[in-house]
Amino acid sequence: MSGIPARTPVVNDLVVKFANVNGTGSASANNLFAKALFRMGLSVSPKNIFPSNIQGLPTWYEVRVNDKGYLARREGVDIMVSVNPQSMAKDVREVKPGGYFIYDNSKPLDLRLMRDDIDFIGLPLTRICLEEYKDARQRQLFKNVIYVGAMAALINMDFSVLTDLIADQFKGKEKLIAPNVHALELGFQYAKSNFTCPLHVTVETRPMGDYILVEGNDACGLGAVYGGATMAGWYPITPSTSVVEAFEKYCKRMRIDPGTGKKNFAIVQAEDELAAMGMVIGANWNGARAFTATSGPGISLMSEFLGLAYFAEIPAVLIDVQRAGPSTGMPTRTQQSDVLACAYASHGDTKHVLVFPSTPKECFDMTAQSFDLAEQLQTPIIMLTDLDLGMNDNMSEPFEWDENRSYKRGKVFNAEQLENMSERFGRYLDVDGDGIPYRTYPGTHPTKGAFFTRGTSRDEYAVYTEDGEEYVANMERLLKKFETAKSYVPAPVITKANAKANASVGILHFGTSMHATLEAVDLLAGEGIAADTCRIRAFPFADEIVDFINSHEQVFVVEQNRDAQMRTLLVNECDLDPKRLNKVLNYNGMPITARFVADAVSAVLNKSSGSQRKKAAAAKA
């Protein structure tokens, strides 16, 4: 007797998960699947769940599909495509009741795995490949394409979208188109002829919106090109490596001097992260826009240099693609757990400007903007993205660039200005009262404007001193500059349940917690709870953020770390009562879901309304 629950047709709302072995070429087939759905006008949010290893261990690719614009992860797998016997037991357990488990039935299934509340669909992948292909590598590769073909039949995908994609993908290598399409068809036909297609979960084409599908790291690399970066010093570390790789890729296309064929950029793979940061500081000190990208361990290693740059007031752009824990602590899982380490990086009294993108478009925009900010504020700008945004294909609004925009190079005196200056040049003089002094590039003028760069043992003219009053004055100017920064950094984004009034619930979020939070608002609305949201896009915090908190009764901060680091930063920097800020914390390394956020919010609300009820009851008694 089947335990499968009653099924009603579901259109455009499913999660498909592929269980593969890493290093077997499944990535491109899986991408093909996701991209096809994207081209069908649907919202897709593929997530790579991969091990810290190169070949042979389990890896998963999870694709959520819908037509409501939701881009967060969703719990519950509707269809598991299992091509990895290693993880099969776990994979079977993950399918939700009423779902499907698709497997390679070239070998018999281990009966102990059977569940009676899901359907098992066997595809003879290995057998088909053995019959169709001779070459071992082909057998492995096309196996993946075949199951995509089968999926097309099973969930009713538009087959022509898939074949178009194949054609696009192999532009220039046309020979490969036919065999790939053939593999797709093999899967498609097998499914068509052996199962009742489609299943109860299907997809349907929708009008395609103005979106692109791209990894955040790619967008960062492109943003650095547009932002005018000419130098990158870096050290490889997952999940940040592809930022500089993307920068290089785009530079090779767009930054080769047409006349000389020379490179209008310099990328130096450093010996470690300390050196990478040193290079970035040296280049910025010398007037070039330079950046680096790293992940947690790199932040730790760069912290002495970050402190120096803060005190010596040297621009720098640093992209931290966050991951979990130490080098041997889930380096291939996502987290937002470097917020405090970055905000207060280095010993002594330091504070750093942070920006938090949520989408590839923002990765692009904020990277480009960071170079302006760094030079305007003469301080390091740290962009905090994460593995989820950086290394997964994310749907995003397309990139934009304003023709009329020009780089804001900040307060720099050129030779002419120095020549015409009658007063003594003071590198650390607060001329304009905004805490931001003027600098000069080395080599500008034969006799004027040279200064000696060091930490804080100096006066406003950069002359060595250990005087306590000079020290204090300088430290206070740095605070003033930080205050000034508020008006330069990206403003928060606020959504309101009701345009005219504040909801009683306000949810703060940032970075990749955005998708889950915005979707959670809809879930909560379904439960009759109206919630406004405020997306933090930068530190120091704009006044609107404080206003948002003050104008909501129940406030939540959604983040992906254990210690509620953003909440700490809010409480500390805005002098807020921590009791006002409820924690919503997901930190198991998997991207946060809307359900998680909504449940956390309503749990708190129920508890507090419960205790209010109790109080009311007590008052009555």
């Binding site: 209008n264 990328i267 000190w285 070039a288 006799t447 040279a450």
Partner: protein, 350 residues
């Protein structure tokens, strides 16, 4: 607390080709101990730059942390300077050099700053053949933290604290040679005649020019028993020969009759002329330099002077094929690909 040197102008001060006097190359008054070797090296830097008629503002001087690393304040007051963090000057110079290949980069470091905390960055600046002059003011100890042995202290050498050092010295010139440095020299702060032409040659060299200068710390490591004190070093020095740096178009002076000579023409046309005292040395051969250094060392002698140079080396910019125009001078036009290109990129991502 810094003193500005009292300003008085002497009308008859000799001037160089640019019309600058030596004073134009000086910096703030030194705050090092009286007699510190480092001050002599600063003086040699001033002298070299003056004689080479280099515009001071075309030089960027960078350092790590230590007494030695303080010296950039005491020379070239019209140059931009950067006292960075301990042991990490090489990376800062790397970035600076990438930003603007047209300046002259003078890095100053100590033996602690280079051979201990800075070993990794030093090794990799060498390996990349970064175009810079790298001077180590080598006193075998940590001056600024009051005299602990450094990694260049010889085994058995005794600093003022009185305990013989237990570990083999790291020979930075040897390490530089092993790692492929394209210009390697050793000198002594007390030997300005040797040091000045070496600095000049180093400045003219395209690539990583390393000078290990033994520079006694009078306060903590100048006692009998120390192998980095003035007396010991003076007694154990031997020179590869006298070096003459000959700017382009000038005539080369001859050697003494019993000396062999070797000439190396630099990429800018100037010539380094070496009148050899050690005629077994071939300054164009790395293996020869290594062999000669070990040979002297085995005999308890310190070989100073020019040890090796490869004038045809590729510097980091050459290796990565970056534009001749300094990167920091590129304008928005050259840097920003613009709206149309972005549109294409968007299209490729749909």
């Amino acid at each position: 607390m810094t003193y500005l040197r009292p300003e008085f102008r002497h009308p008859q001060l000799p001037v160089n080709e640019l019309g600058y006097s030596r004073k134009d190359y000086e910096g703030a008054l030194s705050t090092l101990c009286a007699g510190c070797g480092h001050d002599s090296i600063s003086a040699a830097v001033v002298q070299s730059m003056f004689e080479m008629s280099i515009e001071p503002h075309r030089v960027a001087k960078l350092s790590g942390i230590g007494c030695s690393s303080k010296t950039p304040t005491y020379f070239l007051g019209k140059s931009h300077g950067f006292n960075s963090v301990h042991g990490r000057m090489p990376s800062v110079v790397t970035g600076a050099n990438m930003a603007n290949r047209d300046l002259i980069y003078l890095g100053v470091s100590g033996d602690g700053d280079t051979a201990s905390i800075g070993m990794g960055q030093f090794a990799h600046a060498v390996r990349r053949n970064l175009n810079m002059v790298y001077i180590v003011m080598n006193n075998g100890c940590y001056g600024l933290t009051k005299g602990q042995d450094s990694a260049t202290a010889d085994v058995g050498s005794c600093s003022k604290k009185g305990e013989p050092n237990k570990f083999e010295a790291i020979d930075l010139a040897g390490v530089a040679l092993e790692l492929g440095a394209t210009f390697v020299a050793r000198s002594f702060s007390g030997d300005k005649d040797q040091l000045v032409p070496l600095i000049k040659a180093a400045v003219s060299h395209r690539g990583f020019a390393f000078i290990d200068v033994i520079s006694p710390c009078v306060t903590f490591n100048n006692n009998p028993g120390s192998t980095k004190g003035y007396e010991f070093v003076r007694d154990h020095l031997e020179a590869t020969g006298t070096v003459d740096f000959v700017p382009m178009r000038e005539e080369i002076t001859a050697c003494y009759p019993n000396q062999t000579s070797e000439e190396v023409t630099l990429h800018d046309g100037s010539v380094v002329h070496l009148c050899k005292m050690d005629d077994k040395l071939n300054v164009r051969s790395r293996n020869s330099a290594v062999e000669r250094m070990k040979n002297y060392k085995d005999r308890g002698r310190i070989l100073t002077g020019l040890l090796y140079m490869d004038p045809d080396s590729q510097d980091l910019h050459d290796s990565i094929d970056s534009s001749k125009k300094p990167l920091r001078q590129l304008g928005e036009k050259e840097l920003c690909p613009g709206v149309a290109v972005l549109q294409n990129i968007n299209d490729s991502l749909r």
